[in-house]
């Protein structure tokens, strides 16, 4: 393995214990990474850590939350030992409620048309640009994509958003909710997200003799070599901790445990 320092200039060093190692130094700057996982697999926790680590390094971060209220998120973020309220007070960590954003943009509806999608992209890009955000999390892109009724429009949305954020040098984690994290499952609900994303990190559970072990696996990451092995993870106040999953213990997980 090469020292991380060699890459640091073109990498967003996530600061997540072990993830940077798996990625041989971090996520290439400006990438759009899909973090796909089943319910309770730790997606939100990973996203939060990504931001707090960024803020810790002095980066401006933004989190758009649609799956849980920002109030709860800001409460949960306190569990991290490396979190400091100053990060929020000084404007390094900015948490936006998707509901509020929709309401401000007059998007309180169940289905978005092209015009709506473009105003949403414009708003997100505006925010990133105005406050100089270099780390962005959208939790989740699945709930958002449910409002975009055509596959072509979802593709257009993710592609345009990704391109604009890359131009601004903003590294983005798009959280995707999936019902199964098995080998032959899709890494996204719509199939479109995974094709457009620069990287895919899968989170899920492996069942071993009746017990669930959380795992993280980097399936794809453009612009870097990386480990493709499953890693066991623990969610701790020191952040996500990883260790390679034992090869002889990697029983494949049950299919569609959570149903469709």
């Amino acid at each position: 393995m090469q020292p991380a320092g060699q890459y640091s200039r073109d990498r967003c060093i996530t600061g997540v214990h072990g993830l940077d190692e798996i990625l041989r130094g971090g996520i290439p700057y400006g990438s759009t990474v899909l973090a796909s996982g089943t319910c309770g697999s730790g997606k939100t926790t990973l996203g939060m850590e990504f931001l707090v680590r960024g803020a810790d390094a002095g980066e401006a971060c933004a989190h758009f939350t649609a799956t849980e209220p920002s109030v709860k998120l800001l409460e949960n973020i306190r569990q991290f030992k490396f979190f400091d309220v100053k990060m929020v007070d000084s404007g390094l960590i900015n948490v936006f409620d998707m509901d509020v954003l929709y309401s401000w943009l007059g998007l309180e509806k169940s289905s978005f048309d092209l015009d709506d999608v473009h105003s949403l992209i414009k708003a997100i890009v505006d925010i990133v640009n105005t406050i100089g955000v270099t780390r962005l999390v959208i939790d989740s892109v699945t709930t958002l994509c449910y409002k975009i009724k055509s596959e072509q429009l979802i593709r257009d949305f993710l592609f345009t958003l990704g391109k604009k954020l890359a131009t601004l040098g903003c590294t983005t984690i798009l959280i995707a909710e999936i019902t199964s994290a098995t080998e032959n499952a899709h890494w996204s609900s719509f199939g479109v997200e995974e094709a457009i994303a620069d990287g895919i990190i899968v989170l899920g559970d492996v069942e071993r003799m009746g017990h669930l072990l959380r795992f993280l696996q980097v399936v794809k990451m453009r612009g870097t070599s990386h480990s493709r092995a499953k890693h066991a993870i623990e969610l701790t106040p020191l952040g996500v901790m990883l260790t390679p999953m034992l090869k002889w213990g990697a029983v494949s997980d049950t299919h569609n445990r959570w149903g469709a």
Binding site: P69, S70, V71, G91, N94, V95, F96, D97, D99, V100, L101, Y102, S103, W104, L105, G106, E108, S119, K122, A123, D126, I127, T130, I131
Partner: protein
Amino acid sequence: MASEFKFDKEDEKFFGSVGSFGVPKFDNEMHGGVPRGFTMIAFTETGSGSELFAKQFVSPAEEAENTLYISTNEGQAEIVRIFNKYSWPLDINVRTIGEEYNSNVLEKELLASRYRLEGFRLEDIQRLAQTRFVDDVTQDYLTEVTNEVMALGPYFRAVIDSLDFFLQREDPARVVAMVRMLQAHAQLYRGLVLISVSTDGLSPLIKQELASIADMVLSFKVRTIGTDFETSMIVSKFRNAPENLKILVFRVTPEEGITPETVERIA
């Protein structure tokens, strides 16, 4: 059934057993007016003069602070203009729901289109990052209005013109339930309630339910006769006084407002 309310003897004498329609000739035609405690439902056609009648109905305003006029279509300015025109008392309580709703919604829409066109400014973003909940622009007007009427005391007078606003936005079952509550409140406190509903697009089922709750059912109709319009009010239900069922043809005059011309008894 709710418990009996003890009325003041003085009040009983002052208010009497009936309240004026606000139109003396209607009072004459119907044994002096509307029995205290009655809820009237008026089914209306566009241009039939029902809006004017609704205002005229509150004009007797025996107690201004116990009189409530709720309009869902007109603004304050328009209401004041008409009350002034006929010299009706202006110290009653007036609530203009439609105006409130429009200003809320329009303001929001205006802001949304500004954000969409011009984007967010730094201060907008800072405010957005501080906003944790969606503003409640879609107020629950139905509950508000119900509470406002229920808060009125003995011998109150209340008008809702019209129920259409609620029927378009709420579950009709909720709206009917609200009318039922108001009817019970009016009965208990000897209040007078007038509620108008447009017949355009009104489902026959809702119409039937409303008519069955009401103590008195009025229909405001308009038809053309040659080059002229003829407006009329049909009393098709009058609890305990079927002799009052009639068709009253009226005109609108600058001096008196609604002015009945001919009366026809319904056999």
